[in-house]
C-alpha cells in the first residue's frame, strides 16, 4: 500500500506533463498556421534537429555585399521589397532561405546555384536572418 502512492504520483506526473506539453505544441502549431494564413509565407514544419546556422557580424557584412550584387534589384537595396517580397522578419527556417536562393521558384525567382556556392549562400542567409522589423 505504501508503494502504491508513489507509483500513482509518478503516473499522474507523466500524464499531466505529457498533456501539458502536447497542448502547448498543438497550440503553437495552430497559431503558426493562423499567422501564415494571413501572410504570403507558406507554413512549414519546425525541424527539431536542425542545427543553428553560425553567424557573425563579418558574415552578415559579406552577405550584405552579395545581396547588393545579386538580390537588391528585385528585393530593394534595403530588402523591404520591390519586384520581389520584403525580406524582413521572415518566419521561415534558414534551410528554407538557403533552398530558395539555391533553387529559386518557378515564375517567381531564378536559381542562384551557379552564381553562388555554399559559403555565399551561408553569408546571404545570415544577412537575410539579420533583417528585423
Amino acid at each position: 500500500m505504501k508503494l502504491a502512492r508513489p507509483i500513482i504520483s509518478l503516473g499522474a506526473a507523466a500524464v499531466v506533463s505529457g498533456a501539458a506539453l502536447g497542448f502547448a505544441l498543438a497550440f503553437g502549431d495552430r497559431l503558426r498556421h493562423e499567422a501564415a494564413r494571413t501572410s504570403h509565407q507558406q507554413p512549414e514544419t519546425d525541424h527539431w534537429l536542425e542545427p543553428v546556422t553560425p553567424t557573425s557580424p563579418a558574415l552578415v557584412v559579406q552577405g550584405r555585399r552579395l545581396f547588393l550584387g545579386s538580390c537588391a534589384h528585385c528585393h530593394g537595396a534595403d530588402a523591404t521589397g520591390d519586384e520581389g517580397p520584403d525580406l524582413h522578419d521572415l518566419q521561415v527556417s534558414d534551410r528554407y532561405i538557403a533552398h530558395m536562393i539555391k533553387f529559386g521558384e518557378a515564375h517567381e525567382m531564378p536559381s542562384f546555384a551557379k552564381k553562388h556556392g555554399p559559403p555565399d549562400i551561408t553569408a546571404l542567409t545570415a544577412y537575410v536572418r539579420s533583417l528585423e522589423n
Partner: protein
C-alpha cells in the same frame, strides 16, 4: 490589440516559474540536509509550495511566449537555443509539480532524493532558457 502585449505578458510571467523553481530546489536541498531539525520541516514545506506554484506559473509563461512568437515552437538562432531548454524544463517542472501535489508533503527519502536531482536539472534548464531569453533582449 497592442502588438507588443504578448511580449510584455511574457516578460511579466516568465520570471515567476524561474525564481520559484530555483527557490524550491534551494529550500528542499536545505530541508533535506537539515531533516532532523525543526527548520528542515519548514524548509521542505516552502520547497513544496514553491514547486507547485512554480509549475503552475509555467503555463502562462509558455502561452504568452507562444502568442508572442505566433506559435514558433523552435525558431532560429537564440530563439532556438531558448526553446531547446524551455520545452524540457516545462515538461519536467509540470511533472515534478504534479508528482509533489499527488504525493503530498510526505514521501520516501529515496524518492525525495531522486526528486531533488530532477528538480535541480529542471532549475538548471530554466536558468539556461532564461539566459538565452536575455540574449534575445540584448540582441534587439
Amino acid at each position: 490589440m497592442e502588438s507588443t502585449i504578448w511580449a510584455k505578458a511574457h516578460g511579466a510571467t516568465t520570471h515567476f516559474p524561474l525564481a520559484l523553481a530555483v527557490c524550491s530546489v534551494a529550500c528542499d536541498a536545505a530541508g533535506f540536509a537539515l531533516a532532523r531539525k525543526p527548520v528542515g520541516h519548514e524548509l521542505r514545506a516552502a520547497g513544496y509550495w514553491t514547486m507547485i506554484f512554480g509549475a503552475m506559473g509555467t503555463v502562462p509563461a509558455v502561452l504568452s511566449g507562444l502568442l508572442m512568437t505566433q506559435g514558433t515552437v523552435m525558431g532560429h538562432d537564440a530563439l532556438r537555443l531558448h526553446h531547446l531548454f524551455v520545452w524540457p524544463a516545462f515538461a519536467l517542472l509540470v511533472a515534478l509539480g504534479t508528482w509533489r501535489l499527488v504525493q503530498g508533503r510526505q514521501a520516501p527519502p529515496r524518492a525525495l532524493a531522486a526528486y531533488l536531482v530532477l528538480a535541480g536539472v529542471a532549475a538548471g534548464l530554466m536558468t539556461a532558457a532564461a539566459y538565452w531569453g536575455g540574449e534575445m533582449m540584448i540582441a534587439r
